[in-house]
Symmetry: C2
């Protein structure tokens, strides 16, 4: 019988710690050793019989080329802070307030074509002849007094942002690394040649781990330490722009993009906001470019008999794993660093042969938010367990192929609790993977669809990690769903209009008015509203959270308020008294009060709406019968194991599904999965206390006392 | 020397309690005895040598006429609740959900002309031929499936609303009183004749107290006790409408109003929201009508040698005391019931010979919000003092001529604490009045202008009493201002564009985005934005509270964010990091933390903005230098004596005015006024504890120990 002690584990090797590397590889059952950014493996490790991953950041570490060809560097549109005209001439220094080690003004003729000066007071683009540029300053003539003006301009980005982050955060002092734009023909030829040379020079490497591709997530630094980060968006496309890209776009699409398509009154176009039609075109344009160039790299790697894995973080823009073009690249593996369950599901879903997770904590002295993880006072095993509880439940639902760690292996010295924890997790991972290999776990036959602007392009993730998006309700809901025994899809408003609801039992819309998750102006489309109305009226279920379907200008604020049975008063319902209500003592599903928050101004639009929870004086959780269907409204939702259980109970209540079909436990802190082909039950205790739980499954009832946080895998009848 | 024991006091007499009436008149120094709604004075009282007020509600108590001429009753536009079309024919009962004892459908041909059916899903008016009406039901043919439809319709109002309130709240069982529309020619002739008869039959009456005029504030009842009040707005004009009014309007203005001008997607047009241009026209039209008709009544009253006072409450719509037409009516007096200081200032400002306040508590068993004021367990003297503290400080700033009480006098039996309190307040009122008569109190030479949609039309009040509008920041600010030694004006956005800021030192804009107090779309006008910008830049001061100058669609949410140094993130600034800040320990004025609240999403737009208070993780109180001027931002403000003092200190700090000019005390719970012509200081202790306070005034420093709540009036050098 397999002992699950070896395989599917990638260890970060460390030069200078060869003995430790091999010891830990043994303890954790590693079959692969990788280097990390900035570290190189020594021969003792390379020749020890493990497969070897080598990390490459393709666009970085070419400073000599970048200095010789500064026009091959990457760019971005920025907008100056607004300046007030107090007389009829105004001088603006566009770059003032931005970090001058990150940006240099691009005042080449092909860039200047795209510069714009706006009168923001009246939202008017100034004619080109009314302003001039010299020596870092724009002079505007004939200003309207007391109006505010901005300059939109192109910049070179002269410091690769991850390197910049490490310097400014971890006090690195090495040379600032630059980055090349693969759109620049000379640079592209150079990069391909460099990769070929690298492959030739590194025969020991089995897998090249690209980290990641070309364009970093957007990260704009300010000059003032009080606003060091001015803008950060893990899924924006602003760093892909250049005059060459704009010209190519214009040639293909037949219309020209302008600076304002990117600047958007200074807001830029963050992923959390619905894109303009132009931005959607531009994203598709970039996705095809990135996929095409990436395929060229993969082909080179393959030509040397190596495999190409890609790390989905940092410079990944344009290669969304659920995007249309990802599978065309031909990667052999996708590596995703994970804090959360939703990230496991994101990785598992990608169309690629090998799915690998890099666990947290990273082997780095300081962890998330400055935690002293591997420093004095740190408890890396606690951090590891905290993340594991999120990851484990997702791994029980959908399999990945490999796990691993990253960072400096020597930090594990003396951390036996952590080292034992990782060992245990690796064994559990392998056992779960083996179950999945025999056959998928049972589910409740509930098809949940999360509805938002991006649809499947942004399956599971909003952008970035949980802690970067945790002010958004949807990431909490996604995290809850990632471990529930239901089918989950992510659909767009277009999908709904094209009939996607025929494959849906429960539809979820969760966000804030105007954001990409709620949908904003999409809800002005009566075809969308009526299709969701029909869907619920004819028996479907809707869960709305926050400000679902919210849009201004209608007779209600929530376009689906008639379905939800609640609406939100934004002040425009002044003097209208809401329906009074009593909170129902007998809820159709157990309410987890700690997980639900209130949204301001929520009021009932139908006396038949049942209030299950009140907070801050307003209904926080309601349920409303609509035709043959039903709708639940939540003001907000914060993920916790108990909150996830409430979502499960809510789904069961809405659909009438049989919980025994997929093994639901009687204890809210215990989750379960049933693998019918293996006749195996997986019980996962999320509690730090022992819990005795009974699980009904198609074969009967299984009861066990689980130790704190225990994973119990049992073969049953 | 005057003992201030008599005069300027109106006592509610009570038949059956003649001896008590005369005793209390003596105790409180009454010179006037009035009857109340529903009570008649007996000859013993009428002939006792007091002036007599008699109350008339002109449009009520004519049931016989109303039944004989049902088309003379008042009307209103209502909108049905929206109904969902699940097939292509839909039946809607328009009145369903409304209180059928208040409303009857008006399906006369002239009313049906104005009915409308809307497809609210696509915001489309249906052609008349697509629906029909019969027996209380509208049938819509050719519906779009899953769209929602509403019916806008005219109703008769068959129960006068104050009478309806008393029946439904106080369990009255008498006949329901109806109300006549003075626009109906027969009704108007009848009412004039009735008034003449009344004057002829009541020679003992010196003053007719009209309570009030024709049109009640809007109060729409529902059929379901869970939403008994569907809509209530103390300043809306919906109850003035009728086909006759609409025809007259069309004839005069050259365009027709429609139901939707009133219905406004079901929201109606509450006073808290900016009016449409059509509504502004309509209001002016009604104001002129009301003033004209009221003048006819006043002329009749005068022709009998009587005076005409008007009570500003209930059916006052169209006779705003600060409106353009009020003084044309020729009233001899204005009576305002007061809970608050701002109501005293509202009354005092009116262009009318006599200003009278009706104090609270009303002599009624149950007080505000169900308080057992004059019932068992009640403490009417405490209620009286609570209101008095609000009123006193306003009376120190601006004089009125009379005070009084209302209700059932017999409830004072055994309430010696209350009776003594009223006696003391009456003496203090007379002493203050005497000081004002000699010369006005000194002020700080600070001209404060409150800027909102309505300008002077809604000076001091928003609509209704404090407790009806206390969710609006501005009423708290107005209440604070009502007792401060500064000049206060109320100006509109039009006024600003016409140069009103030349007479202003400190401008205040306080409200929520889109409401009438913040201003809503008015801030799209660059002429307004630039004028306020200029004003502050050149040295003026701005106080913004809540969501000042907020409007969607710009490059900032607050149109004045460059002046305020703060803006509000409504989610559209996703991924933009705000300026970090430290809360300043040394504020330019003492901060009253309890009075200031936070608004969500507030962030600094200028690193130079100083944060004086943080709440809920955002800046709650800031100050920002802008050119030669300064701007204060407050997330919210709740009135308290200490909060009012903070506003005073804020005004002093912004303007650099000398506090000694108007006698400011060194103790925040003590307020003062200085009457230079009388060389008198008024010290008011707002504290329930004794306080020793020093007041600097132009003649020196005066120090006194004040008893709890004491008013001290001293002649000084």
């Amino acid at each position: 019988m397999e002992d699950f002690r070896r395989g599917g584990f990638t260890l970060p090797g460390e030069a200078g710690y060869e003995k430790l590397t091999l010891e830990m590889a043994e303890k954790w059952g590693a079959d692969v050793i990788r280097d990390s950014d900035g570290t190189k493996l020594s021969p003792e490790i390379v020749e020890a019989g493990y497969r070897i991953y080598s990390t490459i950041c393709i666009i970085r570490e070419h400073n000599a080329f970048a200095q010789a060809h500064p026009d091959a560097q990457q760019q971005v549109f920025l907008m100056s802070d607004a300046a007030l005209a107090t007389e009829d001439t105004l001088t603006i220094e566009p770059l003032k307030g931005f970090f001058d080690e990150q940006f240099e003004i691009n005042d080449t003729p092909e860039a200047m074509e795209y510069w714009q000066v706006w009168d923001r007071t009246v939202d008017m683009l100034l004619p080109r002849e009314s302003w001039s540029y010299e020596n870092g300053k724009v002079t505007v003539k004939g200003c309207e007094k007391w109006h505010r003006y901005t300059v939109s301009f192109l910049c070179w980005r002269v410091w690769e942002e991850i390197n910049m982050y490490n310097h400014t955060t971890n006090h690195w002092t090495s040379e600032h690394l630059r980055q090349l734009d693969p759109r620049h023909p000379l640079a592209w030829e150079y990069l391909k040649g460099w990769l070929k040379d690298w492959c030739r020079d590194n025969p020991q490497t089995n897998v090249i781990r690209l980290t990641s591709l070309f364009y970093n997530f957007v990260w704009v630094f300010g000059s003032d330490m009080r606003r060091r980060t001015r803008f950060v968006d893990w899924a924006s496309y602003d760093f892909t722009v250049s005059p060459a890209a704009l010209k190519a776009f214009e040639a293909e699409y037949g219309y020209a993009l302008t600076a304002e398509d990117f600047i958007n009154k200074g807001r830029l176009q963050a992923t959390h906001r619905p894109p303009t039609a132009h931005k959607k075109d531009y994203m598709d344009f970039i996705q095809r470019f990135v996929a095409g160039k990436a395929k060229e790299l993969v082909d080179i790697i393959h030509s040397f008999g190596k495999e190409a894995y890609v790390f989905y973080d940092d410079s990944w823009v344009g290669m969304e794993p659920c995007g249309k073009y990802f599978s065309s690249i031909g990667f052999d593996g996708l590596i995703k660093c994970v804090f959360s369950g939703f990230e496991c599901r994101l990785c598992a879903r990608a169309q690629v042969p090998v799915h690998e997770l890099r666990f947290h904590p990273y082997l780095f002295p300081v962890g998330l938010g400055g935690l002293p993880t591997f420093s004095e006072g740190g408890h890396p095993e606690k951090d590891a367990y905290a993340y594991w509880l999120h990851v484990r439940r997702a791994l029980a639902r959908e399999s990945v192929d490999r796990i691993g760690l990253g960072g400096y292996l020597h930090l594990t010295i003396g951390q036996s609790a952590f080292n034992d924890a990782i060992e245990e997790m690796a064994v559990t991972f392998r056992r779960l993977k083996a179950l999945h290999a025999v056959g998928a776990p049972a589910d409740l036959h509930i098809r949940v669809a999360v509805l938002h602007t991006w649809g499947s392009l942004r399956s599971w993730t909003l952008s970035g990690h949980f802690h970067e998006t945790d002010q958004h309700i949807l990431i909490h809901i996604n995290e809850a769903l990632s471990g529930l025994p239901v089918k989950v899809s992510f659909i767009s408003f277009e999908d709904v209009k094209n009939g996607a609801l025929r494959d849906v039992d429960v539809l979820i819309n969760a966000g804030r008015m105007g954001d990409a998750w709620s949908g904003g102006d999409a809800w002005r489309d009566e075809a969308l509203v009526t299709e969701v109305t029909r869907f619920v009226y004819e028996g479907g279920s809707l869960i709305g959270a926050g400000e679902p379907s919210a849009v201004s200008g209608g007779d209600t604020r929530f376009a689906l308020s008639h379905v939800l049975g609640v609406d939100q008063d934004d002040g425009s319902w002044a003097c209208h008294m809401p329906w009074q209500y009593e909170v129902e003592e007998a809820s159709p599903f157990p309410v987890c009060g700690e997980a639900v928050t209130a949204a301001p101004g929520i009021r009932l639009t139908d006396p038949g709406t049942r209030v299950l929870l009140e907070k801050d004086g307003v209904p926080a959780l309601t349920i409303h019968d609509f035709g043959k269907g039903r709708a639940v409204y939540m003001g907000g939702f914060a993920y916790s194991p108990l909150g996830a259980r409430m979502i499960l109970d809510m789904l069961l209540s809405l659909t009438g599904a049989d919980p025994a079909a997929a093994a639901v436990s009687d204890q809210p802190m215990v989750e379960a999965a049933y693998f019918p082909a293996s006749r195996a039950l997986v019980l996962m205790n999320n509690d730090e206390k022992s819990v005795t739980a009974s699980v009904r499954y198609p074969g009967g009832v299984y009861t066990a006392e689980l130790k704190p946080l225990e994973t119990r895998i049992e073969t049953v009848q």
